[in-house]
Symmetry: C2
């Protein structure tokens, strides 16, 4: 999806018409003409900073130059002019601006090749773990600036490291593209975000302009630009638009679905002919849902669980195969599925004491399933799943299924079986075992080959924006055509939601492949 | 020419649509909608800096705001958002960026009213008196930056004084528009200018973009913009385009002519249907011509001269009626006319010793006319006009007449008598006595009512750009339609020039009203 058509990307060689007597076109006009011809466009923007020494540079280069470009909704833009024999790499950086995790990929703009990737926890976590806490903080005096500085300085630091690991410097970086949810986009750009979380949930910006990187403090080449993906609404961010172009959903012949299981559940269904989107945070059941289920992946974190249906023996797998210290979201889905399939959790999502036996203890007055006994734990404490945790997971999985049902069936008029592909995007999504997600009724019971993990589609889409000059127009076309459904949490939704709170569902016929009694 | 249509200028009141559930337009989009509606346009640019605190500002103001705008070739642009009850004046500054003199006018953008005006000698004169010397210097290391700093700091200083004299601060200034010749425009913007004076005489920029004032170091409101008039070529600057809109030449039913007698003689002739322009510096006879004739106006400078044809008694008038210290250009034209009409200079432009008598002395081997004797002089030295000075004036006046003849007769196919108006623009031009200029054959012998002094049309045009949102499109339309004639100094020109070197002309019939023997 991310291959560069050589010579068709953002780095081009052009030749400027020789000035002669009797033709009073200015140097900048002849440069503009050469760019328009090369790019087959009517609109080119040349910033003042590229003009100040244009006459001497182009003459010194014999009127040949390598140009670094970008294309946004207004026009093609000249980013820099380089000597024809400029021998440094010309790089861009794609950034997935996640609420929890930020991932940066360094890309050679001439070849499209990815040079390397690095990640960092979003430094805004020091202020608050979730979007809500950060937006509240941004409303305090100086809070917005502090949040912006945290993320920008974090990106600057890791960008410099990543460049240096690849034998480059930040001077070699001309473009930064980023995709994040609407709140992260606002905080990255230093734009007030608090109306996003207040009824009627209005972002300040849906289509951020391309900006000088220096304007927001990004340390790249001084003439460098930064572009963040547009949002569609407060709960439908640029990360999902990035996911749409990365999955090629807007080019599909038959309906497909992309679900990003991140902090919110964001879903798009459609094809080249139509696109319908919906974001889950509008439903109270999902509020703080998925993200609260577990800890972030890391050494010792349980990422998969199985229980022998006969012996009820529990076995866990941890990241790095270290002694277990906790459980992450995908591990919890595995655990819930295993508990249900072994009969230790009933169809109402309640622990069954007589099956759990000594694995069940009381924490306060709340039943808790002991997944790892203290003696096997990396922390010396038992690792437990309480009934409260499980109820929360149940609500989340029910909300996810209901939202999928609403958007696919009620809104698009399809059956789940009409979906040619079911793409699971997002870092969290990449670790989900579809088998387990289906067993608990979180995802519909489709042929397993229909599911495809997209990985970090937000990063993938941001990277496409660096190598494909057509990507911007695609994103804008998607914005124009997509129908955004505000999830209407009415009685019908609540009825559907109630049915989906069962394991896997009150309507057994929907999950024929799930082997439970 | 400069009256503001109330509420149709660059300051408007708008109301932003109230955000409601079910409409996920961002604040910036609703602002954009309100601007598009108010401005009846499809293109509005809102800079990032106006977005960062947009949500809180518009809500605090009850969704009403006063907007400060500008319009350039790309779109309308939002400059600033103000509270509906903002009680400071909203100002702009128009700047005539002359090679010798800079004039600044402060204008209330809401009323169109001029608050005050100030002038300063172009501080670049410290580097070199003329364009040529400064461009050579700009090619030295650091020279360009130094020249730019000089002019910008000079403007900053006087802008602050002017604002303060009017009870305002530079924070109240949102827009700066400027008009200058092509070289001054480049140096003001810090853009390399040396190709302007080297064959094939190519400017770097013909249409400068609107810029953030801060980008070039102008101290006005931090969100303020600066716009300089476009050029048509190296020898056809924005000052003349400013003059065209100021004179309304592009709206005239019948042909009129504008001549700017500045450092170069720049001429435009035409009407609403066509425009032909020509700049004199292409003619070697005018090189350094007019500007070298005299000193700048100032106290004690002789600005008019008369000689009694009978008694040959000389009387001079000085600026401020101070003891005479020198003579300025308009004074020299008066002097030459008086000398000629009194028979002290012959039709070849040579002093006639027998008529001049004791007014003629030798300076070295060069005859010199003693205009002011040492005892009457403010300097204790005689004030003289040498034959060399007079020859230079003769060449200049002949070049001026020849260029006028070429553009009006040879190029436009008109007679001088077809001109409905003959506008004399430029500060220097304002002081010229048409009677004298006609007597020496510098200007054609037309009915005196045809001549009209425009004053500082460069400043006037720049001021129109601050109050009339339609001015920009007019300027761009003029640029598109105007035909720029490179003055072809061929044998025909030289023949015409030779005839024009006589007083007033070899062809006496052309100057029937000039009373000479």
């Amino acid at each position: 999806m991310n291959r560069l058509n050589p010579g068709r990307g953002f780095v081009r060689e052009i030749e400027i018409e020789k000035p002669v007597l009797g033709n009073n076109l200015a140097d900048s006009q002849r440069l503009e003409m050469a760019l328009k011809k090369e790019l087959e466009t009517d609109q080119v923007y040349i910033p003042w900073s590229q003009l100040t020494s244009l006459p001497s540079r182009i003459r010194q280069w014999g009127l040949c130059t390598r140009v670094v470009l970008f294309k946004d909704r207004r026009s093609w833009r000249l980013v820099d002019l380089l000597a024809p024999d400029h021998d440094r790499p010309v790089l861009g950086a794609a950034v997935d601006i996640g609420t929890t995790r930020i991932v940066i990929r360094l890309i050679n703009l001439e070849t499209g090749q990815a040079l390397g990737e690095t990640g960092l926890d979003n430094p805004q976590a020091a202020i608050g773990p979730d979007v809500l806490a950060r937006i509240h903080y941004s409303n305090e005096p100086g809070g917005l600036k502090e949040l912006q500085n945290l993320v920008i300085q974090g990106v600057n630091h890791h960008l410099a490291l990543l460049a240096s690991e690849n034998g480059c410097t930040t001077e070699d970086i001309y473009l930064v593209t980023g995709a994040g949810n609407t709140a992260m986009t606002h905080l990255f750009l230093g734009i007030e975000a608090f109306e996003i979380i207040k009824e009627p949930y209005i972002p300040c910006v849906n289509i951020p302009d391309t900006m000088d990187a220096g304007d927001i403090g990004l340390n790249i080449r001084s003439c460098g630009l930064v572009f963040l993906f547009p949002n569609i609404g407060s709960y439908f961010g640029g990360d999902l638009l990035a996911g749409i172009i990365y999955s090629d959903l807007d080019k599909k012949e038959n309906p497909c679905l992309v679900v990003d299981v991140g902090t919110n559940a964001e879903i798009v269904v459609g094809s080249k002919d139509w696109l319908i989107a919906c974001a889950g945070a509008a439903g109270p059941a999902l509020e703080g849902g998925m993200s609260k289920m577990g800890m972030t992946a890391g050494p010792g974190v349980i990422d998969s669980v199985s229980i022998d249906p006969g012996t009820k023996a529990v076995s866990v797998h941890t990241i790095g195969e270290k002694p277990p210290v906790g459980i992450c979201g995908s591990g919890m889905i595995d655990l819930a599925a295993a508990l249900f399939l072994s009969g230790m959790v009933d169809i109402r999502g309640k622990f069954v004491p007589e099956v759990c036996c000594d694995r069940l203890m009381d924490q306060g007055d709340i039943p808790a399933f002991v997944l790892v006994r203290p003696e096997e734990s990396g922390t010396g404490e038992p690792i437990c799943l309480t009934q409260v945790d499980l109820n929360s997971l149940t609500s989340s999985k029910a909300a996810m299924y209901t939202i999928l049902e609403v958007i696919v069936k009620n809104t698009s008029g399809l059956e789940f079986e009409d979906l040619e592909k079911f793409y699971v995007a997002g870092t969290f999504g990449s670790f989900i075992n579809p088998e387990s997600a289906i067993a608990i009724g979180m995802l519909p019971d489709l042929n397993r080959s229909v599911f495809e993990v997209l990985g970090n589609s937000s990063l993938g889409g941001a990277a496409m924006m660096l190598t494909d000059p057509g990507a911007f127009d695609r994103v804008m076309a998607i914005r124009e055509t997509i129908t955004y459904i505000e999830l209407n949490v009415n009685q019908e939704f609540m009825n559907m939601f109630s049915g989906a709170k069962f394991y896997p569902h009150t309507d057994r016929a929907r999950f024929p492949s799930v082997p439970y009694q």
